[in-house]
């Protein structure tokens, strides 16, 4: 109620970290998607004779221990890392958001139950359970991400519930009920569009966490499996070459860091654009 200038005057994307983060994330995403259609060299073809070359006009980032083009590997790896992390985010969001909305909409025992399930999932050390699940169903990036995705559910449920609760008391939701709308219709028309930005923020953060989780699982051999590659797997493969050819580990490592920083910057920037009251809702689960 103080006489401050309206926050709407801040233009979207004026925020430098958001601009940098969003542009960098998109660039990496683009690089990943380009690799579907084209990479400089196919990564399935192994040419041990050409292993561990330095960067050259033919191989901009050199070649790895099996003679594969590092640039192509990074491109494919970026795609895999994004895709697997996106699967985890999608699982979390597609299940978690409706759950959170349901909890907010119905309240009572339904909410109690959903909150307990949430608490319960939080109690399990996610990475260990991911390792367990991956071992049960076989090492693969998809299984790993399903495991990580399960632990994203409560994160999204919490954000969606918090957002929905803060909107639920707003009069336009009441007006919609007066207009005879059912809960699902209200959620679709009034709640979801207004918490979408919150969910997108959380999704960028979970995407970054997913990329790191994939790297961790790949490191213990339970993430992405050859002949496919991911940034995490490249990092793991390069571990023993750390002294012989440091670039093998540095290139994917730095790529991971850049992607994660870009996503986090984008997420943080987006969050700063939002109502500061909503800002806290997603913050609780920043850790991972």
């Amino acid at each position: 109620m103080t006489d401050l200038p309206a926050p709407e005057k801040r233009v979207w994307l004026r925020h430098p970290s958001l601009r940098i983060g969003a542009v960098a994330s998109l660039v990496f995403l683009l690089v990943g998607f380009v690799s579907i259609a084209w990479v400089p060299y196919p990564i399935e073809v192994i040419n041990v004779g050409a292993a561990m070359q330095d960067p050259s006009p033919a191989h901009w980032l050199g070649t790895d221990h099996l003679g594969r083009d590092m640039l192509s590997m990074i491109m494919k790896g970026t795609l895999t890392s994004f895709v697997v992390a996106a699967i985890a985010v999608a699982i979390g969001a597609l299940i978690g958001v409706p759950l959170g909305l349901a909890a907010a909409a119905w309240g009572g025992p339904a909410e109690w139950f959903i909150l307990r399930v949430n608490d319960f999932l939080f109690a399990f050390p996610a990475l260990i359970i991911a390792i367990l699940i991956t071992t049960i169903f076989g090492p693969s990036a998809i299984n790993a991400m399903i495991a990580v995705g399960i632990f994203n559910i409560p994160v999204f449920a919490r954000v969606a519930r918090g957002g929905a609760l803060s909107l639920k008391t707003l009069d336009y939701v009441g007006a919609a009920r007066l207009a005879g709308m059912g809960p699902i219709e209200i959620a679709r028309r009034h709640i979801l569009p207004n918490i979408a930005s919150l969910i997108i923020v959380q999704a960028t953060i979970q995407l970054a966490l997913g990329i790191l989780a994939e790297a961790s699982l790949s490191y213990v051999g339970l993430g992405t499996q050859p002949p496919a590659t991911s940034l995490g797997l490249m990092l793991k493969d390069a571990q023993t070459y750390a002294l012989l050819k440091p670039s093998l580990a540095l290139i994917p490592g730095i790529t991971i860091i850049l992607i994660v920083v870009a996503l986090n910057l984008a997420g943080d920037g987006l969050r700063d654009q939002l109502d500061p009251k909503l800002r806290r809702l997603g913050g609780a689960r920043g850790a991972a």
Partner: protein
């Protein structure tokens, strides 16, 4: 001799001035009132004096306090704060540290001002008594105190340092009517007792008039008028001041309207209990009774007002009537159909509508105004598409707005315009009963009158029945044919406005009436 001299004070945020070359003086022991709407820059002037402007504010102009320019340095400035100039803020709910006991917070203020001699506990108790709190309140945490009590703690804190100047920034606007009056009386008494200078900032003309001797009117960062209370209020020179004065009195004319006839809505023994979250499974809490056996009747064509202090159950009753909530016990009968709240039959939904209190929260920011206004038309299943289009145009014109505004988004409109759209939305299904929940309390004073006039006109034009919920007795006088007073979930008194206002029976009603401040100035001719 001026205690505070403000000269050409300008405050900018990123180049946009929110205060533009404002100059004024406050003498020792003088009562200085600042009046203006939200966004007019009045709070900024107070913060500039205190040295509490937000970091990104750019300040220019001179501030002289007790013949010395106010220092720019934070540490030197802090030494003046509390000791020489104290301030009471608007939001009692958030202005106290939630983690510390009220007494400790006051004691800290005393300590900082060097006023802690002897037993600090006794000093705090003395202050608490002075501001009308019990000494025991000192041991409570802020969340254990009511809004009015918190505001008293804030005042105690401001008084702790025995300041020469007390700045009050809308100290009562977050409080209910009765408490407002008590706090204003308290400030009045303390300033007299202590001979303290007062800078009182408000959008409430009557409060300023009651407390101050000198008044400054601010609009869009500029002083539009300043002078003696009697001059400003008695002979306003500026149109804006005139507008404010007129709005403060909102004397709307009663228009021709449909005759009042048979019963439209009957409430029988309505009771609503809310389940409270238990402290623990060992410590279940009893349900909170919001409505306790409410009985009343609204007759067709009538305008019934429902008044009462906050928490008395007014809004709960409204929500049950329109079908947003369900009564725990009892029933409603509308047009010979019985319902209990959420089970309001779909066919009746178009006949009962609600205008919400907050024009900002009542529109989805992602939908155009048109989409929101048209939303209730979903209830009109039989109607033709063209007919619906005509209805939207008609209703928007009826509330005095233009149909080409419909494609815009809510944030592009002012509060008054939004409330007009909210009324349009409530009328689009051509309802018979319109429930208005504090329809003007969130609006700036200057537009309240227009909205009330509009409501009265619509009622006449469309033959509507109103249930108006309000805590503002002035407004009730204008729009209501009959008034019900509610307290703690019960209806304690009913009568015509005239009956109630002149001869209140119940203590609460008396208190409500006593709380309203005297009218000010002359009736301006617009």
């Amino acid at each position: 001799m001026a205690l505070l001299k403000v000269d050409e004070l300008t405050v900018r945020f990123g180049g946009t001035p929110v205060l533009d070359a404002v100059s004024f003086e406050i003498g020792k022991g003088q009562r200085f009132g600042v009046i203006g709407e939200s966004g007019s820059g009045k709070t900024m002037s107070a913060l500039a004096i205190m040295g509490l402007l937000p970091e990104d504010a750019e300040l220019s102009g001179t501030l002289i306090f007790d013949r010395e320019p106010l220092p720019a340095d934070e540490e030197a400035r802090a030494k003046l704060r509390g000791k020489r100039i104290a301030m009471v803020f608007q939001e009692p709910m958030t202005s106290l540290n939630p983690l510390e006991k009220a007494g400790a917070q006051v004691a800290e203020a005393m300590h900082l001002a060097g006023q802690a001699q002897g037993d600090p506990r006794a000093d705090v108790e003395r202050l608490f008594v002075e501001v009308g709190l019990e000494p025991g309140h000192a041991a409570r945490y802020p969340h254990e105190l009511s809004g009015g009590q918190r505001q008293r703690v804030m005042i105690a804190m401001a008084l702790a340092g025995k300041p020469d100047l007390l700045i009050c920034d809308e100290p009562t606007s977050a409080l209910d009517l009765i408490t407002q009056r008590k706090v204003i009386d308290l400030i009045d008494r303390i300033c007299s007792d202590r001979g303290m200078a007062l800078m009182f900032i408000s959008h409430d003309l009557k409060a300023v008039a009651a407390l101050c001797t000198k008044i400054m009117v601010v609009r869009r960062g500029k002083v539009v008028e300043m002078g003696d209370k009697l001059d400003v209020l008695g002979h306003p020179k500026h149109d804006y001041t005139k507008l404010l004065l007129a709005a403060g009195r909102h004397r709307a004319r009663t228009l021709m309207r449909a005759p009042i006839s048979g019963d439209m809505l009957v409430a029988r023994d309505l009771t609503k209990r809310f389940r409270q979250p238990d402290v623990s499974i060992f410590e279940p809490r009893p349900p909170l009774t919001a409505l306790d056996g409410v009985n009343f009747t609204i007759r067709s064509g009538e305008s019934l007002a429902l008044v009462g202090p906050s928490g008395s159950g007014k809004s709960t009753l409204a929500r049950i009537i329109v079908g947003l909530d369900r009564a725990t016990k009892g029933e409603l009968e509308f047009d010979h159909q019985v319902y209990h709240g959420t089970d309001l039959p779909r066919t009746l939904r178009r006949d009962i509508s609600l205008v919400f209190q907050d024009p900002f929260g009542s529109f989805n920011p992602r939908l155009t105004i048109g989409e929101s206004v048209a939303e209730p038309l979903r209830l009109e299943q039989g109607a033709e598409f063209d007919e619906l289009g005509r209805r939207i145009v008609e209703v928007v014109q009826a509330v005095g707005l233009s149909p080409d505004m419909l494609n815009r988004f809510p944030h592009e409109f002012s509060g008054g315009q939004r409330q007009r759209f909210a009324i349009a939305r409530a009328l689009i299904t051509r309802p018979r009963l319109v429930v208005l929940d504090e329809p003007v309390s969130a609006l700036d004073v200057s537009v309240r009158g227009e909205v009330l006039v509009l409501l009265n006109r619509l009622r006449a034009d469309y033959g509507l029945t109103f249930l108006v919920i309000s805590h503002d007795l002035d407004m009730v006088r204008i729009v209501a044919d009959r008034v019900m007073v509610m307290d703690k979930g019960r209806i304690i008194e009913t009568g015509t406005p005239a009956q109630l206002l002149d001869k209140p029976q119940e203590p609460l009603t008396k208190e409500l009436i006593a709380a309203s401040l005297p009218d000010v100035g002359i009736v301006p001719v617009l």
